[in-house]
Symmetry: C2
Subunit: 178 residues, 2 copies
């Protein structure tokens, strides 16, 4: 068995929205057959593992409609059109937590839901933090917390942290021994 590139035969536009679009592609698959792929188009964004001088990770808590619950996550957000990715990381960190970072390091990048979404997140490690004023988007309501990686590892075990990008961030910082 080998991998087979799926060529698009036709594409149906289903929805164009604010944070995402949806399309349905008819594609070639193996053995000359065809199938359908439902694809969410998302412009992607950044997530930030921000580590304080005390070695704690800065976390934000907000209500998430998709989960119908309050979620504890690392700061994150969409990249704006034409915006440099590292600049987006600095901006989102400042907006959501008030912190500015002396040092920003690109750690990894990943599709969040490779089966159906074009969304790619870039994870940055931010250190040398200086506190300042937050600047939430008008429809954001966010609480800020700081935890050690050991506390966060425990929250992953209990399911209190249940967000993929945040788990990647916590495990990355834990592994780097920061």
């Amino acid at each position: 068995m080998t991998t087979v590139e799926e060529k698009t035969i036709s594409s149906e536009r289903i929805y164009e929205g604010t944070i995402l679009n949806l399309r349905k592609d008819r594609v070639t698959i193996k053995d000359g057959k065809t199938s359908w792929r439902e694809i969410v188009e998302h412009s992607g964004g950044v997530a930030i593992a921000a580590v304080t001088d005390e070695g704690k990770l800065v976390m934000v808590k907000q209500f998430r409609k998709a989960a119908e619950s309050v979620m504890l996550e690392v700061p994150a957000g969409k990249t704006e059109p034409g915006e440099d990715i590292a600049a987006a990381a600095m901006r989102e960190l400042k907006e959501e937590t008030g912190y500015s970072a002396d040092k920003l390091e690109h750690v990894s990048q990943f599709f969040t839901s490779i089966g159906y979404s074009t969304e790619v997140l870039h994870l940055y490690l931010a250190t040398g933090l200086t506190p300042g004023e937050t600047d939430f988007d008008e429809n954001e309501a966010i609480e800020i917390y700081e935890y050690t990686t050991d506390e966060l590892m425990e929250m992953i075990d209990t399911g209190e942290i249940a967000d993929a990008k945040s788990i990647v961030a916590v495990l990355t910082v834990k592994m780097k021994g920061l």
Copy 2:
């Protein structure tokens, strides 16, 4: 600032499909205002960190339309309606890699794209592997590989692995020292 539950005022059904549905909710936000939330409904699934007796992680390679490229990932798939989650992990591991596992341990669970998708993945650690025949879905074309966690960590650094669930799996196995 505190978190605010977003109550649904109205909900518009935009699409009902094969692997996902899309709806648009009008919700209450802070200060008595309202906003819109675009929500992808997805039934969720499983991902498997399968570690061989030689300490290698079993990976699968397949073309992914959302990425328009071949991706290296841990085995994963959707839970079938009414199916036990651990049984789904055993089934997907067998179908995609041929391996059966003596031991299956639930490691973590996470929303993949908390900003807009209801999809939750459950990550399992599978050990005590016995090889066997694969049983791909008819529209899957998959190659199987085995790598050490050090090799996989390097592939995360280079971007060759760029899939959130797979990064969580690799970092988890690396941290457990398997």
